[in-house]
């Protein structure tokens, strides 16, 4: 439920001189923790490097090159960057035209605008023709505090229904860097949820490598299996470490390719032992990875003893600082730990 504009916030009820000093926090939009190692603009650098040896690659953006890390590509290959203005329908149409002429356009905007505003143009101009267009979108799920205008909490639900579209939800800088060349090598339309700016680097220590279309077990455990994508893999890995101290042994299966889903690996992991299965995602609980996994189980003979979802509520979310919102909506490491413990105690 959103706050009412008719109710003044409680903290203003204190006398003026005694109020705590208020700070603006909605600008805090980094998903990186204070001590986390990061890499700057992994998508922009990976694409710029790839384009050095691939003349087909062009970059196109709808007035958000600077905010989707495509400015790195633009600086490296200025003659291969196209500014299409704040016009997402045109962005998708013109990318289709570029692809028709043999180029591989990488288009960037925010996930809300691609999924909500430009759906028909991705669907008919690009996907129906299986054109080689890569759609890379910042601010997926809850990665900004700007409220529903910028929070693409339902982008996966919207786009999973589109035939021919491959959907990628990477976890960290390593995932992105390794995904870019594989996405380029895959012929056909791809939607990738983008983590931009200083992106955490967490998967390196697990010996992980990205393979398009594959889920990867990152850690094993006998008590619970957490299936996750995107930034939630980062969170559940942290949660698993904390749970270990309390004697809880949680496995983590990272699923960066949302579509096509690696059903074989998911079913194989879900069928092992008698573990609680939890799907964690940075997306509404409607129509994302959780429901995709549930549907996969429904169509199979595999029945886990319990199945739970960590996801955003089916609601328009509040504005605020990202750490506050992740805590409020259950995506923080602490909330993941608490949820897991509660479910294991059931």
């Amino acid at each position: 439920m959103r706050r009412s504009k008719y109710v003044r916030p409680d903290f203003l009820s204190a006398p003026a001189g005694e109020r705590p000093r208020l700070t603006t926090s909605a600008m805090i939009a980094s998903i990186a923790g204070p001590d986390q190692p990061t890499r700057a603009a992994p998508f922009g650098h990976a694409l710029a490097a790839l384009a050095r040896n691939d003349d087909r690659i062009v970059g196109m953006s709808a007035d958000l090159a600077k905010y989707t890390d495509l400015h790195v590509f633009r600086a490296a290959h200025p003659d291969r960057f196209y500014q299409m203005g704040m016009a997402e329908q045109l962005l998708m149409m013109s990318a289709a035209g570029m692809a028709r002429e043999g180029f591989q356009p990488w288009v960037t905007t925010y996930a809300v605008f691609a999924s909500r505003r430009a759906y028909d143009f991705i669907c008919l101009a690009i996907a129906e023709e299986e054109l080689d267009v890569k759609i890379v979108c910042a601010l997926p799920g809850l990665t900004t505090g700007y409220g529903p205008s910028h929070q693409a909490t339902e982008d996966l639900a919207i786009l999973r229904g589109m035939p021919n579209l491959t959907i990628i939800d990477p976890c960290d800088a390593l995932d992105i860097e390794q995904a870019i060349p594989q996405i380029a090598a895959h012929r056909g339309p791809v939607y990738m949820r983008l983590l931009r700016g200083n992106v955490p680097l967490v998967l390196e220590e697990y010996g992980y490598s990205f393979t398009l279309g594959k889920a990867k077990r990152i850690r094993d455990g006998r008590d619970a299996l957490i299936i996750s994508s995107g930034i939630m893999t980062m969170r559940v890995l942290e949660a698993a470490k904390l749970l270990q101290r309390d004697g809880v042994d949680a496995a983590v299966l990272h699923v960066p390719t949302i579509k096509p889903l690696d059903e074989e690996t998911i079913l194989s992991e879900c069928g092992k032992q008698n573990r609680l299965v939890v799907v964690a995602e940075n997306h509404t609980l409607v129509g994302g990875l959780g429901e995709a996994v549930a549907a996969t189980l429904m169509r199979s003979a595999v029945r886990p003893s319990a199945f739970r979802q960590i996801a955003l509520p089916d609601a328009f979310l509040e504005a605020g600082a990202l750490p506050t919102l992740h805590e409020r909506y259950g995506l923080s490491t602490e909330r993941v730990v608490a949820s897991l413990k509660a479910w294991l105690d059931e």
Binding site: V58, Y82, M84, G85, A87, Q89, L90, M92, M93, S94, A95, A96, G97, M98, A99, R100, E101, G102, F103, P105, D120, F121, L124, A125, E128, E129
Partner: protein, 279 residues
Amino acid sequence: MSSIGHNISLHERARRIRRHALRMGEVQGQGYIAQALGIADVLAVSYFHATAYRPDDPEWEERDRFLLSIGHYAIALYAALIEAKIVPEDELESYGTDDSRLPMSGMAAYTPGMEITGGSLGHGLGIAVGMCLGLKRKRSSSFIYTLFSDGELDEGSTWEAAMSAGSHKLDNLIGIVDVNQMQADGPSLGVMNFEPLAPKFEAFGWYTQRVDGNDIDALVVAFDKARRHGGPVPRVIICDTKMAKGVPFLEARERNHFLRVEPGEWTEALKIIDERVAP
């Protein structure tokens, strides 16, 4: 320009395009026939005067691309593709039937010479913008022609594309607007007043012409001027056409956006078309 059949007049081409369209319409007993008859002269000039293509190689790299944004007009473009020998004439009897290469709405994956999938309106001009940018990257001298309708002027995406074409100085883009004054819900200007139209394109930086879209001689001049214009600007030819042009009893129908024609009327319409004497 195709090198075939230079001895056949454009008027005769237009007559044959109407004839092919009517024969396909007869297969289904209904369809966007009035649009096909109305745009036949523009298609005759496009395919037999203005565009370069190879009938036996529809994907020849150096061709001019002709994009049908209005997928609903597929029957019209099929008629032109049949006349241009890109689609074999005997295929017209399969129009709109199961497993045909000529489905009711134009789709690129189905038909030789169909460059894009239209039908969801307001896509063509934007795809053309991307193709024009791509052609320029390849240093190609080919033109992109895009046929869209007055109804598509209601779609915001058309205007996103129009603005960007001016901004990107796309002098290899030639837009063709079919102003036939009829949409699904009735007369176009009653659905959404898009006039004055020419000044809108001019304001977006286009070289703009407006002609009688059923006057072949005027169309030839307009297409020539569009191609030869020296400025670094996109070009548009606004074509005022008459729905069902050439078949007076169909022209007279008040609501002819989607025509249902009685079996005997097809023969009558074909007879009228066949009796027309080419000037």
